[in-house]
């Protein structure tokens, strides 16, 4: 493969994986408990989240592979996972390596989910919230296509999608909490000597 083709492939797969990871984030953020819709069951969303994330990983792998194989600039294999070890574009390639490292942690723990404590899996999975913006920074920091209008628009769209999902999630969560408290509170004014305690919040084992 010529160096130019590799270069185009790196840029294309990079952008595609950013889109796919954005979609993964949105699907994950908008997961709610007590899914009740007949047309869009909760397990289907979870399944889609998993499959889109796998596709994103594939494109990310291609992005990494093509960038290393391209001999026009030197990015060694080590620089893929060791931040700031590349001679070319040291800083922004390093940022990409950080995003990749975080994503590898999320990926590995998800593959081995049944073998670890749920709390551990969750804590690592939350690193996705760090990995994604770092990946976004790498995309625009590298600068290769960042000047193109459509690429900027793409970046804005990705950010808007994730922010919208977050806002929606937070508003749903507070509505659900209010509804549950209403379920669990007394509907009749009791006399003062009736001993009442507020229902306990759901506690979780560590």
């Amino acid at each position: 493969m010529s160096s130019t083709s590799l270069w185009y492939a790196t840029r294309a797969t990079g952008l595609v994986s950013l889109i796919l990871f954005t979609a993964t984030m949105v699907l994950g953020i908008t997961t709610t408990t007590r899914s009740r819709s007949r047309n869009w069951p909760g397990f289907a969303q979870q399944e889609l989240h998993r499959r889109v994330s796998m596709m994103a990983v594939v494109f990310l792998a291609l992005h990494v592979l093509t960038s290393v194989l391209d001999t026009y600039v030197h990015i060694g294999w080590a620089a893929v996972v060791v931040p700031f070890a590349s001679s070319y574009g040291r800083f922004w390639v390093g940022v990409g390596a950080i995003a990749l490292d975080l994503m590898i942690a999320v990926l590995v723990t998800s593959l081995l989910r049944s073998r670890m404590r749920p709390g551990t899996w969750r804590a690592v999975h939350w690193l996705a919230y760090l990995s994604w913006p770092v990946a976004l920074a790498h995309t625009f920091g590298m600068g290769t296509d960042a000047g193109e209008h459509w690429v900027v628009a793409l970046g804005v769209a990705c950010v808007a999608a994730v922010l919208t999902a977050l806002v929606w999630r937070l508003s749903v969560a507070s509505r659900q909490r209010a509804a549950r408290l209403a379920h669990a509170s007394v509907g009749v004014v009791p006399p003062t000597h009736l001993v009442l305690t507020a229902p306990n919040r759901r506690s979780h084992r560590a």
Partner: protein
């Protein structure tokens, strides 16, 4: 300070109450701890056989045979812990507090004996925070025993939080291990509890006191009281509409009304609450039911924790049960959805019933909730709440009809005859 209305029993009669509280008298009267020079497997096996022959069952609510529980713990190897459960989360129960104040050496002797059987290396006495008079008595007893070298295995007193479910055995063990006071999901109860990598054997304080007496007097002494199918004695706290509330020691199989009469009820009781706040109401036609597991089960009740609360004629069972339901809802550990949401919903329905604000869907809704909430928690807490509410709807059926037609309970504004701990949070209306 709890009262005991029992007098010193005759010298040869089996009993827990009447043993001396102070160490010197205890040693003088009952003799040394019946341990051999080296506790070997034959001795351990003999003690377990004696416990099995006696038919002793746990006095903490579950009623599980003590010998089997101890044998399982023994099988789990040495180095474990004997946990003395004096948590007494039931607000209407005083028996464990009484034992720890008046006969702590019996309880601790029982713990030492089971420690020798199972090879345990530690005895941990659990008294809730806030009950300092009980904890001080326990600590004093432990100090006396340590000074006199009467404790082969080290004894300590710890103070878990004062919550209803904190005395549940997996919650207790979980707290000791350093975590939180939360019941564990145990689909297979035959798997023993652990603290770290070693086993933990949890027993109610009264059960351990019985172990200490049986080890000295033999299984036949225990069987000399009570029934063949439910032998021995139980400590029962009688409270409510009585003039002499307190703890009595009764033969298993004593008719409920005879137990109650020892506390001198104020007039003829309207109903009895048996087994604790998660127990069951008993109607007058069943007042002569023997206080024994099988007989009580036949009328929808259990012996549970030794508690009998007398409901006076002027009180209303529905109001009191509404208060019970609110209390139990507030005491949920907060782990399981059906309990966290179901118990307050049931309490709410009962409050509406007592206040006469009944919507047409209430009877069916309450019935559905009662059948759905039971059995779906990690522990038996929601089951107890469901039981007590179900029994109330059965026993106070006449009141249910009256309230269903919109008449509020006349007793709603009167003080409760039940005991509740000080409220922690008031729900804003």
């Amino acid at each position: 300070m709890p009262n005991a209305t029992d007098t010193m029993p005759a010298a040869r009669t089996y009993g827990l109450l009447g043993y001396p509280a102070d160490f010197a008298t205890h040693v003088g009267q009952v003799g040394p701890l019946p341990l051999p020079a080296r506790a070997d497997r034959d001795w351990g096996g003999a003690l377990l056989a004696a416990l099995e022959a006696s038919g002793l069952t746990g006095r903490g609510g579950a009623g599980f045979p003590a010998a089997i529980k101890a044998a399982v713990a023994r099988g789990k190897g040495r180095g474990g812990t004997i946990v003395v459960n004096a948590m007494e989360g039931e607000p209407a129960s005083d028996k464990d507090a009484l034992l720890m104040i008046r006969a702590p050496h019996l309880v601790l002797d029982g713990a030492q004996l089971l420690a020798a059987v199972s090879g345990a290396r530690s005895v941990v006495v659990c008294v809730p925070e806030g009950r300092d008079h009980v904890a001080d008595a326990a600590a004093r007893a432990v100090a006396e025993r340590t000074a006199a070298r009467w404790a082969p295995v080290v004894e300590t007193v710890v103070r878990p939080p004062d919550r209803f479910v904190a005395g549940e055995e997996s919650a207790l063990v979980g707290w000791i291990e350093g975590g939180q006071s939360l019941p564990a999901f145990r689909p297979d109860k035959s798997v023993p509890l652990r603290i770290g990598r070693k086993g933990a054997l949890v027993h109610n304080a009264e059960t351990l006191a019985h172990v200490a007496v049986i080890a000295r007097s033999g299984p036949e002494a225990f069987r000399s009281r009570g029934l063949p199918e439910d032998p021995g004695t139980s400590l029962v706290t009688v409270s409510g509409a009585v003039s002499q509330p307190g703890v009595v020691e009764v033969d298993r199989g004593t008719p409920l009304i005879d137990i109650v009469s020892r506390a001198t009820p104020l007039g003829s009781p309207r109903a009895l609450l048996v087994g604790g706040y998660g127990g069951a109401w008993v109607a007058p036609e069943h007042f002569s039911t023997p206080y024994a597991s099988l007989s009580l089960r036949a009328i929808g009740a259990t012996a549970g924790v030794g508690v009998v609360v007398v409901l006076g004629q002027e009180a209303c069972g529905i109001s009191e049960t509404a208060r019970l339901a609110h209390y139990l809802a507030g005491q949920s550990a907060g782990q399981c959805g059906p309990c966290v949401y179901g118990l307050p919903a049931i309490a709410d329905d009962l409050a509406r019933l007592a206040a006469g604000r009944v919507d047409p869907g209430l009877p069916a809704r309450l019935d559905r909730r009662l059948s759905e909430v039971g059995g779906r928690g990690a522990c038996r807490h929601p089951d107890g709440a469901v039981n007590v509410v179900r029994s109330a709807l059965r026993v106070f059926v006449a009141d249910v009809h009256v309230h269903s037609r919109g008449t509020p309970c006349a007793c709603w504004d009167r003080p409760t005859q039940l005991r509740f701990p000080a409220p922690t949070v008031q729900v804003a209306s």
